[in-house]
Symmetry: D2
Subunit: 264 residues, 4 copies
């Protein structure tokens, strides 16, 4: 049972708010099981060089296709707008989708985005008819700029790719959510635990994209189930309206003058 309502991602009706990567799994079969267990309907795949004759590539592709998910190709490893644009075009041809997760890496160590070439590439790709999912830092001005050039979806990071640190700067993230109410916002990169994913949705983000947290878990399939649950928990928590946080404690139990039993 899924407790969440369907939502629209780039005009597609989607039941899950989790977007999941296809790298780093112990085996293709575990990848397949994990993606299924996650409930995700959007799978990112990477293309650095077209290599249609590669046998392992064929096998991988058959698994991906068998899952019946939306494919979200990415431009992982691209270091400038030109590379990313070229890669995006190749991906569109190979995968037959105009969706592209746009990564333009600005630093080889943290793998954080280069805001300059990211915006440039996003603009060019939107003009070319792509549905761009830009991987951004948690900088409101950058996110706003991506919206200004036509992005309907923006994906700020929680923390560096593969760090598993969760949301490093909640202030920035809350601000982005608050200031871009009409943009589909997906937290991408840095999610390490189910509670991180739940927290992102409780803050009102529309989705979460992750890979390492599932693929590198001791038991990726079980972890995928954990994230499925956490996503539903976080979204329901957001919809249910969390209690106000109070600076100082107050008794949750009215202890005087209240009816019998009505105390805790």
């Amino acid at each position: 049972m899924n407790n969440n309502q369907a939502w629209l991602l780039a005009d597609q009706e989607i039941n899950s708010r989790l977007l999941i990567g296809s790298a780093l799994y112990p085996s293709p079969d575990i990848m397949r099981q994990a993606i299924q267990a996650s409930g995700s309907q959007v799978v990112t795949v990477s293309i650095r060089r077209q290599n249609p004759g590669d046998q392992s590539g064929q096998a991988f592709w058959q698994i991906i296709q068998s899952l019946g998910c939306h494919i979200l190709p990415n431009t992982a490893g691209c270091r400038n707008a030109k590379e990313a644009i070229t890669t995006a075009h190749m991906a569109r041809e190979i995968f037959g989708t105009n969706w592209i997760k746009l990564e333009v890496i600005g630093d080889d160590y943290t793998l954080q985005p280069d805001p300059f070439d990211l915006v440039k590439a996003a603009q060019a790709l939107i003009e070319d008819g792509f549905e761009v999912f830009p991987y951004a830092s948690d900088d409101l001005v950058l996110c706003q700029k991506l919206v200004d050039v036509g992005c309907r979806i923006v994906m700020p990071w929680a923390s560096p790719i593969g760090s598993g640190k969760g949301i490093m700067n909640p202030y920035n993230m809350e601000l982005i959510r608050q200031r871009l109410p009409n943009t589909t916002l997906i937290v991408d990169a840095g999610i390490g635990k189910p509670s991180h994913a739940a927290q992102a949705l409780e803050m009102g983000f529309d989705g979460v994209l992750l890979n390492s947290a599932v693929a590198l878990a001791d038991d990726p399939v079980k972890m995928a189930t954990a994230f499925k649950q956490a996503m539903e928990a976080g979204r329901l928590g957001f919809e249910a309206g969390t209690m106000p946080q109070r600076e100082f404690a107050s008794a949750s139990t009215p202890t005087l003058g209240t009816p019998f039993w009505h105390q805790d």
Copy 2:
């Protein structure tokens, strides 16, 4: 569907790891629906003064009984060992259970436990045959002392009752879990959001006890469902073994010399 295995709480087989309070709900009926939605099988109830003839008490009690849950009476509002011991005995008689959530309040403002009278009362009640669930602070030495006097269950707080601040001191909490591997540890008080509950279980705690986070949500029934999911997510995440957190980012995608597609 419940993705979690049953576990033993004080020798009782329980499916849910959530213990839930029965105070502060907008109405008895919303309480009933919320407790059902939470999946919890253990409900705390409060008795300050015996008042069997009170009509509202009777109605409340019928609802509680109809839920088929284990009753965990508490000693909320007691300020010293003597009061708490007396209340516990009253509760055992009224509710027909030897379970008691032992609260001995040391400060009227934060409602934090008095470690001194808590240990004293715990010892006395264990000698009297009670199964004591002591509400403690996140002090390892206090928790150890409670184990030393015979508690099989210890319930350290996350933060002050009703504050919704979540786990204030993760260092202390991790230490308690690590050092008391054979004790049933339940995080009690301060949980405000589903992600807080998931975090507690990811740290290896056996359960979570909460009340305000559900009862004071805008939609308590939906929030109860959110917590049900978050508990399952957190437990599965713990069992699945979370990825190691890394201080600096590493690419999750091997981009050179790897088979086609196997990149993200």
Copy 3:
């Protein structure tokens, strides 16, 4: 007495690592006293419109001149590269210095920088012979880009201007320090307390620029002295090499087999 060594800021020998603003003080005389108490030798001043005949401007200017500090004009309030460049040229003419604190605001609410026009303006001003002090976010790629276009000094924010929140994202800040070892790095904006300033210097930052934390204190002159001390403390702490932080406690006292007294 100043316990710190002199350092070079844009080829000028400077004794203090504090750069201080000249806005928001209760009165011009308190401003004068506070700046003197702070020990700062660099004072930021703002020019939005040239207005040489304004009487209050004249009085302010005489105070600033009497302090014998380096003047660091800023481009506060500019919203794009063109405005900032024009303002910088005006400032150079009026104040007779090629130093410019470059602010290009990307968001009216948080007053955070616009990375795009910031880099553009920095490049243009450096070509025009300015010594640019760019006010940046804590984004490594942006800071690197500013260095690439010729900045010898970069000023990442701690948190939003006037928020007093201190360093919001220590991970980002440590990374910037580590990766730009040859750049003069000054933490600008968001410092609220002396301990925040000390922390920035302990992390190896070369200086701190602040305004509100002193000007809006209950006693600005005393607070200026506090920051003077905190800056010296932080720098000395950095130079003295802080002890390694340990995940779990170890006794600081060797209690067995050690000479008498040598225990604590």
Copy 4:
């Protein structure tokens, strides 16, 4: 120059708010220099066994005496009230002071206090005429209890001894300060950096006791100077009244309709 006013510690007029330990220094001479540089007038010393004939003990003692500081003997390593009381009596005889830093260790790993025997020992020692400086956890109820049995001074920890983690739970610490306005409160244990010490004083604590942070620094003498400055900075910051922290940024510069120059 010392910018701080003298204060009363157990009826003694003291200029510095830093209390410093005498263990773990690279050499007795570096200890001497560091303590002098710290400006501290209160030095803790440890006695586990009386050993007056020990030569190294004699040399150490001569150095300590030459510093002209108040001696604060401690009961480091004691694991119950009886040991601590015995050690305190020995210390009073040897050092000729009724001051005692009361440590009763409840856990060999974290070296955190045992609240139960701590209160018991404090009460007994106060009845015996000691001025007790109890090393406590950051538990308000424990601190209050120590006051109730007669302590005029209470020393809650920041974090485990030797961890250098700083103030782990600011909420608890602020609460203790707020609720015990008439008690001399000294932060003891866990301070690792000058900024941590400044933060403690900004919160209104009366003093800081530390040892490892200076003794284990690469340059203990320089670090001692850093802490001297940080203590003064923190106290002045507290007295000067820090600006309110604001959730969202506001421009520190009024940019419209304001007099020329009066903008930053």
